[in-house]
Amino acid sequence: MIKTIAGQIKEFTLPSILTPLCMIGEVICEMIIPILMGQIVDNGIQAGNMEFIMTTGAKMIVMALLGLAFGIGGGYFGSKASAGLARNLREAMFVRIQDFSFANIDHFSTSGLVTRLTTDVTNIQNAYQMLLRMAMRSPISLITAMVMSFVISPRIASIYLAAVIFLSLVMAFIMSRATRYFKQVFERYDDLNESVQENVRAIRVVKAFVREEYEKTKFTRAAKNIYDMFVKAEGNIVFISPVMMGTVYTCIMLISWIGAHMIVAGNLTTGSLMTLLTYCMNILMSLMMLSMIFVMMTMSAASARRISEVLNEVPSLQNPAEPVIEVKDGSIDFDDVDFSYREDAREMVLKDINLHIKSGESIGIIGGTGSAKSSLVNLISRLYDVTQGSLRVGGVDVRDYDMEVLRDQVSVVLQKNVLFSGTIYDNLRWGNPDATDEECREACRMACADEFIDRMPDGYETYIEQGGSNVSGGQKQRLCIARALLKKPKVLILDDSTSACDTATDARIHHAFDTMIPDTTKLIIAQRVASVEHCDRILVMENGRVDAFDTPENLLKTNAIYREVYESQTGGNGDFDH
């Protein structure tokens, strides 16, 4: 895990090394300055030696300038290294995700990937900066101060040592208790946010049922819960500061007492006593810092693990060594194909599929939800690999093609389709970056999208919002079809892609396909019989198996499922329109 993350430091290795070095330099300056300060008091002021004050003051200024240079260097390189690591991590993940197959994407889920690319990377960035700047600084500051103290006075230094051990134990105890509570707090926090989100999303339901007061009571209770938990969790944290202060004060008093005796006995100078007191603060502050670093590291460990999961994921589909780079025609052959999404699944999603589709045929596919229609067509453009058997397009096994070539020739309009923010032209050119305006318009005519695009004030330059939120469902579907058509594919697959279009438009689209791209093999999944009844053949799916595959006329006579669907949708039970 750490190796995976560290592997992304790359060109930021130099700043990553320079940062701790600068920090060490800064610490050393910081350590020397109190000694000089002590000397100014002891040998300069107490002794009334102005010259000594000047020379030591000059030394101090040199040290301060050095410290400044190191401090600025540390800040600069630390920020560069951590922002750089974040950049590389984001880029590496993004590039890796582009290589993911559908199976890989399913494995992580969209929101999982988004969190990894955003929040998790930010966590790592902060933790890395902290690590570079503080993780070196604090222990060095602690150890140096400790060693110096021992040099000045082993007796007093041993008090520090005892204080450090005592504080570490107490803080570890408080922190572990508090983290437990905080974990609970954050869980409740998520619940609270969930409840706000629910209300924002379902505000129409809340208002329609006049449940505002009810929701308010519910929320007040949840907010009270969080409050109680927070009070409990922070109730632990507040003990840190008094313990800390108590230890510091005890140390100061002990040193004053012991130091006084030693000075009187001539074993210590007043200047050294002042220096020791400064080190006391240094040591305890470093300890405080270390405990914070520790908490931060444990918190970011989860993020690091989640990021390395993505970076270490092996894309489940690979291009063959010597790929075929031409799809001859649009014929499709399934030979004894079995398929399941997971290797260890007990039941196959698709079983014993044997289908032979000629180039240029139009095929309708119907079946209930869960009958694996989408799974079947997703195999054709090799979005997933078959588990058993073989699948050929244009006479060649899909696993032998270059994936890019195959997907350009087998164009799928997915069921859950997405438009991207950008103009209509931008979106259409996803299908073919080099398409001319005329080609785009042509595709839109075929998909019956021209009629509403022409009515839009900016026509083809209309800006589509993220996710296509400013076009209706039916319009979105037609744009997606047009986009797929621009590929000029040999096989076109529509996965329930006209469900939100009215019946007349639906029919016009299919008519256009038949007349304008007769040589393209067309596979059309639909819930509406009207969308498929003009196809050459219809495939009836049931529970992952082929129930029947025949012409519509024959199916009406021989197939019970088709007949049932047909009858339920005609004779007064069908869709009206939109």
């Binding site: 401090g71 329609a208 929701e215 500061s241 009187v264 209930g368």
Partner: protein, 653 residues
């Protein structure tokens, strides 16, 4: 790639980072003083005494600490130095002094503990009150607010913005106060010791503050650029991850990576600069304070050696101790600047929500339980305290000081209604229609014709610009919104469920419903069957908007929820989503039994629903172009006829 670049610039503008060019407008919050006052008013509203307690404790803790610093001087000057020469030194005065100091330290620890403990209540309590106030206010906002604000933005008020306030209330403010008290007390000590040296220190502190402001300005500007670039990168990631499967289908990976790199590099630039600037504030101040020490030592040395104005060596030593201690609080102040600016920005967004105008309700007609009272052969309605199964509108007439009761029947009329979401652009024009009690009214027409909009007006989610809507002959404006909506049931196309059990979700329609009533409603809606097959039946917990249910099942629950409320008027939005034919049939049957005997407005998609309606309203571009029964409209050979028959005729052979 030029194409991609052009697109990138338009879609996700990356903010340019600035190295400190002049003339750039400083990003700032409007009226920071006012905002700060308003945030603090929340603290004072609920926790005035707590907060005063906090301030008192801070003063006590600071004084105890300063007293400790003083002690190091007296330790050397008053105890150690005099004893140094003695052969038989007496340590008992020192012991007594340490004892006294210990008491002060004890008070300091106690004060600081009390302060932190109180601060939990002040901080968390204020936030809790603020959260509840936000939510209460949000629930009272009109639908328009939710339709015109991105849900993500509303959510971020509850999460990010509230968080910035927590930072400010529970950390920055006490810290600032602490620092100010420390600085002031140290200053007064310094002034007592030496006026000229204090002046030197003040000059140095002014330099430190100036540097801090300059560098904070630079880092702040870059922080804002970073936030903006982070927003673009996150937006791009979110969009592309959502569409990742489409990206694969279209072989768009390479173009994506190019675009991403560009955004990512801009983010790196700004993040690097923002952090670099904020990182160097600390070292700069630390070294300036060391410089200050040296200058004071030299100037002070010169003064002390010449015994200028009675300035002694001992005084100089303690002055230098104070001098060393003043750098820290000043550094602390500078560290709090960024978080206070961010909190003010967060507070601005919070108050913007709180200042939104809530839904106004000037209605006075209420819905009451009613009973028939026989009265010389003629019955009349009277109000009843208990559930009778009958409902009546209680209408008080101010002019005559009389109250009359009108039976709730569900007679709805729209007279010449005009409506637009904004006054400039009307989306509905001159709508006239009359639905008698129990009638089924179907709205048909293409997307955007205004079907959903009409249903939003009947329950007053939106108010109309012109015309009248009446229910049982009462203008809906006169009816209390709460009572009006209680008389109307709604089943929306996008089903929204709440976290909780199936039972609780159905009961949402009628909170006091018994378990038996819930079962009955579920049976009516055809939902009972699948619910009993769920792992824990009616006690199955639903989360994430019913993510563990299918689309069809969610709809059945929504129907059951409407059924249990038993409203006389129903607004239905038929589903168009692709549920398979069998499930659709079950949903349809559920809807049909729900519609029986109620005035129903249905946004129809199914042939059978439309044909069986008592009144079909055909809408086009916000106008009613035809209305009548199925047979009448078919007879007419108009738009409805076209829609109804069109698909069959135009179908390719």
């Amino acid at each position: 790639m030029a194409e991609t670049r052009k697109k990138t610039e338009r879609r996700y503008k990356s903010a340019k980072t600035t190295g400190g060019r002049r003339g750039q407008p400083r990003p700032r919050v409007q009226n920071p003083g006012l905002l700060f006052k308003r945030i603090m008013s929340y603290v004072f509203k609920y926790y005035k005494f707590h907060f005063i307690g906090v301030l008192v404790c801070i003063v006590a803790a600071v004084l105890a600490n300063v007293q400790g610093t003083m002690f190091t001087r007296t330790l050397i000057d008053a105890y150690i130095t005099p004893m140094m020469g003695q052969t038989n030194p007496d340590f008992s005065p020192l012991a007594a002094a340490i004892g006294r100091v210990a008491i002060f330290y004890g008070i300091g620890i106690l004060a600081s503990f009390t302060q932190q403990k109180l601060m939990i209540y002040v901080g968390q309590g204020t936030l809790s009150h603020l959260r509840v106030e936000l939510f209460d206010h949000m629930e009272d906002l009109p639908i328009k607010y939710f339709d015109t604000h991105a849900h993500g933005d509303i959510m971020s008020i509850y999460t990010n913005d509230i968080d910035t306030l927590r930072q400010m209330i529970s950390q920055s403010i006490p810290q600032l106060f602490n620092s100010v008290i420390t600085v002031v007390s140290i200053f007064s000590m310094m002034l007592v010791l030496s006026v000229p040296l204090t002046l030197v220190t003040i000059v140095m502190i002014a330099v430190m503050l100036f540097c801090t402001m300059k560098v904070t300005g630079l880092s702040g500007r870059n922080f804002i650029a970073q936030q903006k670039n982070l927003g673009s990168v996150n937006g791009f990631i979110e969009e592309m991850m959502t569409g990742q499967k489409v990206v694969k289908v279209f072989n768009h990976e390479k173009a994506n990576i190019e675009e991403f790199k560009e955004l990512n590099d801009a983010l790196f630039e700004s993040a690097f600069k923002a952090n670099a600037f904020s990182n160097i504030i600390g070292p700069i101040n630390a070294q300036l304070s060391n410089l200050n020490y040296v200058i004071c030592a030299i100037v002070g040395g010169a003064l002390a050696l010449n015994t200028f104005a009675g300035f002694t060596v001992g005084a100089l030593a303690s002055f230098l101790t104070f001098n060393k201690n003043i750098g820290m609080p000043i550094n602390q102040v500078s560290m709090q600047f960024n978080s206070i600016i961010m909190a003010l920005a967060g507070g601005e967004r919070i108050f913007r929500l709180l200042d939104e105008k809530p839904e106004v309700d000037e209605g006075y007609v209420t819905l009451v339980n009613a009973k028939f009272v026989e009265d010389e052969g003629e019955g009349h309605l009277e109000e009843s305290d208990e559930y009778t199964g009958w409902w009546a509108w209680k209408h008080y007439h101010k002019a005559t000081d009389t109250t009359d009761y009108r039976l709730l029947e569900g007679d709805v009329t729209l007279n010449g209604v005009d409506f637009g979401y904004t006054d400039e652009k009307m989306v509905l024009h001159d709508i006239w229609l009359h639905a008698e009690p129990g009638m089924k009214v179907a709205f048909v027409g293409s997307t955007g014709a205004g079907k959903t909009t009409i249903t939003n007006l009947i329950n007053r989610f939106y108010d109309i610009q012109d015309g009248k809507i009446r229910i049982d002959d009462i203008n809906v404006n006169k009816i209390k919104k709460k009572d009006l909506r209680q008389s109307l049931g709604m089943v929306l196309q996008d089903t929204h469920l709440f976290t909780g059990t199936v039972m609780e979700n159905i009961r949402y329609g009628k909170l006091e419903a018994t378990d038996e009533e819930v079962y009955a409603a579920a049976r009516l809606a055809n939902a009972d069957g699948f619910i009993r097959h769920l792992p824990q039946g009616y006690e199955t917990r639903l989360t994430g908007d019913g993510a563990n249910l299918s689309q069809g099942q969610r709809q059945l629950l929504a129907i059951a929820r409407a059924a249990i409320a038993n409203p006389p008027v129903l607004i239905l939005d038929e589903a168009t989503s692709s549920i398979d034919t069998r499930t659709e049939k079950i949903v349809q049957d559920g809807m049909d039994s729900l519609m029986a005997g109620r005035t129903t407005f249905v946004i129809a998609h199914r042939l059978s629903t439309v044909r069986n309606s008592d009144l079909i309203v055909v809408l086009e571009q916000g106008r009613i172009i035809e209305q009548g029964t199925h047979d009448e409209l078919i007879e007419k050979h108009g738009k409805y006829y076209q829609l109804y028959t069109g698909d069959r005729e135009e179908q390719p052979a």
